[in-house]
Amino acid sequence: MTRTRFAPRRVAALLIAAAASLPLLACARAAVAADAEAQRQKAQTCIACHGPQGNSTNPAIPSLAGQPKQFITTQLVMFREGRRKDAQMSPLAAKLGNADIDDFGTYFSAQKPAPPAHRTAPDKIAASQRLAEQNHCVSCHGPELKGQQHIPRLAGQQSAYLRAQLRGFKASTRFDMDGQMTSAAQALSDADIELLADYLSGLP
């Protein structure tokens, strides 16, 4: 039996087809780049508080860089719908359409989280790790606490922000979609919350 070979005419046809598709590909790439640029510009409003590329430098304001897209969009929906409330965020989110929210999610989830500025004191690491384990943090937030789906990345998050959220969950005042965090935070003492916030914000 003869080996199958590409007939020269077939090869030529393939080459022509490939060449013809090049401008199309370039077009598609340009469209994606234009979308990304539009998203980046839109996100400038957020960056005023959440920091460059969503890497916050204010301990009380959360970083958004590298958060799962679904976490960002879920929280913005909840701010818009008035279920999660915040003096700054609520009025901003009230005006957002689903497409805006989707754009913010796409942009910030694609940004690289900056290495944490916070350093956890070495003598507290072991106890904090134990706390995180006992309280099942990795169950939902992922093995490296980098978040998944609608659940936030904790690694490298701002410490004052984390502390405020944990205290809010403990006091049942922080919005909680399914009650998991409110329930988990009940067992934490103020000292536990300090340790966790200090530990998580130092994680890469």
């Binding site: 929906v77 134990r130 006992q134 939902c140």
Partner: protein, 395 residues
């Protein structure tokens, strides 16, 4: 005064016992502690149908599937009003939506706000019933005042505010009573008498009765229009393995019947923890095993005239699809018919949401409920994308 921590506790040791793990993880074995499996969360903004591969959805020859409406956040249970309004509930939000068909163009209206997980919706004689986490309420004459709905009247309040399976569905019985579920408060736990059950309430008097026991979580039920018996789907326990136990379809033959949870699953599998207390032979076995972790949710008998005769009075069941399984399955709408001897037979009716059984997520959409429209078309809701599809038939 607060007690000081014991002097010998290592620094940083927690003083209070940690809360239990999240309810979806409850019942996991030690070997499964590092399992990456997790439930799949919906995209609450929804996704425009134009971005999705809905042209890849498949239905049998002669049928057609199209997008009926998109942009309806977390579209789950559906109910049809007398004047054609489709009411839609959800689990993670707090609103009920209405879809009004205006000559082929559909308008979405948020009609009710501030409810607690309004997953269940039911319409009867001008009244919309909504099942929240902890109560069932009614809105009379709502279809004439969608922009200015009446205040709700409470039928039942005080249902358990439980972790796990707090969302409810309802169906109307031939007796005029509302049948609804109270799920198990976790994956595998000993329920209280009101939990893991189907109950019924007379909306006129508010009197409530137990109807069926040992039902872990039913998110779909419907009365057979001919036999007047209640059929329901139920989701069986997780973390017992890749291929079992199977989720089930059941028919209730008598009030008070027990279907096995938490003692026995799928009629023949004693629970490793609770199985020792009872015997499988005490419980009604499944009418049909639907598949492991496949999550059968909304179901309806086909009462329309549009589809071919073989579909008349058969059941359509939406499968939300599996998460507690490494090779995923489901995410289809199936059709179940029962032959003259009473034997049920299942076949896939609508498919194409599943893209890669081993990927995370494995699918691009998840069916939740089905609804037979007046013209005989079948609506299918998808909470992952906030879309409702319409399946129609033409000879």
């Amino acid at each position: 005064m607060k007690e000081p921590a014991p002097a010998l506790a290592p620094p940083g040791a927690q003083t209070a016992p940690a809360a239990p793990p999240p309810s979806w993880q409850q019942g996991r074995s030690a070997e499964q502690a590092k399992s990456p499996l997790h439930p799949i969360a919906p995209i609450l903004t929804g996704r425009p149908a134009s971005e999705l591969a809905h042209d890849k959805l498949k239905v049998p020859p002669g049928f057609k599937v199209e997008v009926w409406v998109d942009g309806l956040p977390e579209a789950r249970s559906m109910a049809l009003g007398d004047k054609g309004t489709v009411f839609v509930g959800n689990r993670n939000l707090s609103d009920v939506y209405a879809v009004i068909d205006k000559g082929g163009k559909r308008e979405i209206k948020k009609i009710l706000k501030g409810l607690a997980s309004p997953n269940g919706v039911l319409f009867n004689k001008g009244t919309l019933f909504v099942a929240e986490k902890n109560r069932i309420v009614r809105y009379d004459g709502i279809e004439d005042r969608l922009d200015n709905p009446p205040e709700p009247k409470v039928i039942i309040d005080g249902l358990p505010e439980q972790p796990g399976h707090f969302w409810k569905v309802m169906t109307l019985g031939p007796d005029g009573k509302i049948y609804f579920n109270v799920g198990a408060p976790g994956n595998i736990v000993m329920p209280s008498y009101i939990q893991a059950a189907i109950l019924r309430v007379d909306p006129k008097t508010g009197k409530m009765e137990d109807y069926a026991q040992g039902v872990r979580q039913s998110v779909g039920m419907a009365f057979n229009p001919k036999t007047k018996q209640l059929w329901f789907t139920s989701n069986n326990r997780d973390w017992l393995g890749e291929d079992g136990p199977s989720d089930i379809l059941q028919v209730v033959k008598r009030k008070g019947e027990h279907f096995g949870y938490p003692y026995c699953h799928q009629g023949d599998t004693p629970d490793p923890e609770f199985g020792k207390y009872r015997s499988c032979s005490e419980f009604t076995p499944p009418t049909l095993k639907l598949g492991a972790h496949i999550a059968p949710l909304g179901m309806r008998f086909y009462t329309g005239k549009m589809f071919p005769a073989e579909y008349h009075n058969t059941m359509f069941i939406a499968q939300h699809g599996s998460w507690n399984k490494t090779v995923k399955q489901g995410y289809n709408v199936i059709n179940v018919s029962v032959d003259a001897s009473g034997k049920p037979k299942s076949k896939v009716f609508l498919e194409g949401f599943l893209t890669d059984p081993k990927a995370d997520p494995p699918m691009w959409g998840r069916p939740v409920d089905v609804l037979v429209m007046r013209d005989g078309a079948l609506l299918v809701s998808d909470d992952y994308n906030g879309i409702i599809y319409r399946v129609s038939y033409k000879k």
